[in-house]
Subunit: 343 residues, 2 copies
Amino acid sequence: MERLGSDLETGPSAPVTLHDVAKAAGVSVATVSYVANGRMNVRLSDATRLRVQRAIDDLGYRPNALAKNLVTGTSRFIGLVADGVATTPFAGQIIHGAQDEAWKHGFVLLVANTESDTQVEREAIDMMLEHQVRGILYSTWYHREISVPPALHSAEMVLVNCYAPGSDARAVVPDEAQGGRSATEQLLRQGHRRIAFINTTWESPARSGRLAGYRDALKAAGVQFDPALVIDAEPNQEGGYGAYEKIQRMDVTAVFCHNDRVAMGLYDAVRVRGLKVPTDLAIVGFDNQEVIAAHLRPPLTTVQLPHYELGATGIRILLGLDAAPPGAITKLACPLVSRESAG
Amino acid sequence: MERLGSDLETGPSAPVTLHDVAKAAGVSVATVSYVANGRMNVRLSDATRLRVQRAIDDLGYRPNALAKNLVTGTSRFIGLVADGVATTPFAGQIIHGAQDEAWKHGFVLLVANTESDTQVEREAIDMMLEHQVRGILYSTWYHREISVPPALHSAEMVLVNCYAPGSDARAVVPDEAQGGRSATEQLLRQGHRRIAFINTTWESPARSGRLAGYRDALKAAGVQFDPALVIDAEPNQEGGYGAYEKIQRMDVTAVFCHNDRVAMGLYDAVRVRGLKVPTDLAIVGFDNQEVIAAHLRPPLTTVQLPHYELGATGIRILLGLDAAPPGAITKLACPLVSRESAG
């Protein structure tokens, strides 16, 4: 399923946000929220209260979520349960995207980092429910299939970077197949026809999706798929380095790597033999990993995992700003980042 | 100032935590908190309430912070303002450490990611104050001097990975000088005497501290400091690669690099000339950056930035579990991680 339109945001019925009111009144979002919630125990001048109230009226701001919260007993919190904030640089972008979007609509993010500890996860969800969160985003650091933790069923929720087949849970994930297709198409455009694919040994949607995209792109270009050109390796530098042994016997001119770390290892293996990227071997990665991709020699052509957008879209689905029926899996595009390694 | 002892944690007066009670009673932390706070509107069986109350009595648990909160009007939240969750893999470790430690004492972390936007920062702090946080950790993604944002003065606070000279703010930072000393000592132990230092062009405590440590180590080993062996470069792969031009004219056998990314670039420059690490040039980095350090060829000897411990210690200082007088700057050790590149 492709990403659904977000015309709610730009159409005539675009919701006025706390930020819009704050900007119009020249005050902070917090101040608007005080006034909108009728909190009289906060020290604000009458002039400020009046100015904010006027901006609220002028812009037609309706503190939907807030008003609703007062009725339903939920708060201005949204929970984000993440299983690996510390183990990956990616999780930061999911948090960043979710927070920016939550903030825009007057919500504060409660972040809990579980490092995959089930007990911690259960307690984090309990805490969030105790704080009457508006809903919970449940995110994983790599794209995978999960079973929804039972406690999550007590909350409105959206799965981010993971999905639960056969459940009602809405999910937002990267479009792995499109990403694999884009990477392979870039190599085909450069004239390559014998293209190896170093896939991962980890069973995952990334493994099957990127392979499907690779095959689709070859097919569309009229290139026969040759299973002998697809090998599995550990998804890190050591895996890429070691894979060169097989690659050099394949008579290929280009390699699509499962991720940037594999590409980094492959660079080393190519260099150690006195060969050059991309003239002797063209290479494309996947992830666009911050500290690696742009800084290899030559800079790596790769495909970007849309972590920021996953977080932001998760919030939009949770708040009903992007439509997603129960059980829907929304797929976000993985854009090609073209640098110098594809030849 | 060195890190202060944490015997409060292990001594006879070690505070009993929510976790201890939860474990003893066989219930979740949330359940203990309900009972400890006398929340009768939560559905719990009398048997459960009794079991929890008995565990509280047996262990002598005093819900210090919680009871105090009820009196002072603060909540079980601790705020964490971070300026770069998305731009660095390091911030995740600060969050992880802070959360683990907060959790241990029955607090929940409210995380706000500001990406250095002053307006967002002010609003984040406002929101946290509005939620009556117990206190706020204010953290930066690289170690630096800051001015305390005025809004922060309304909260109890601890600066993490930054410090404000001349203010009352307590801070916890990495011991850059010790880190630089450890890195240099490792090269000296391997018999190197002519050791270059590629420092950064960015003025920062890391720049001055690591240089001071390098000089200290040389002095202690009876090696004359030669300013010609210290050069500045951009703190990334390109900087390290470019610095080799100067390094090769220096007649050195080893290089201490300002960070792992510089070391990674230097590896490439060495390799491109058909030379080998560490036999032709020994190299030590700094940071122990997850996706890089262990995965270079050969694996990089480096010094670890203690991000997890910075977050955890920040919480301990905030809660009064580690002593730190007003204005104190607590320095945490940067341990050497010995791999294969130091020769």
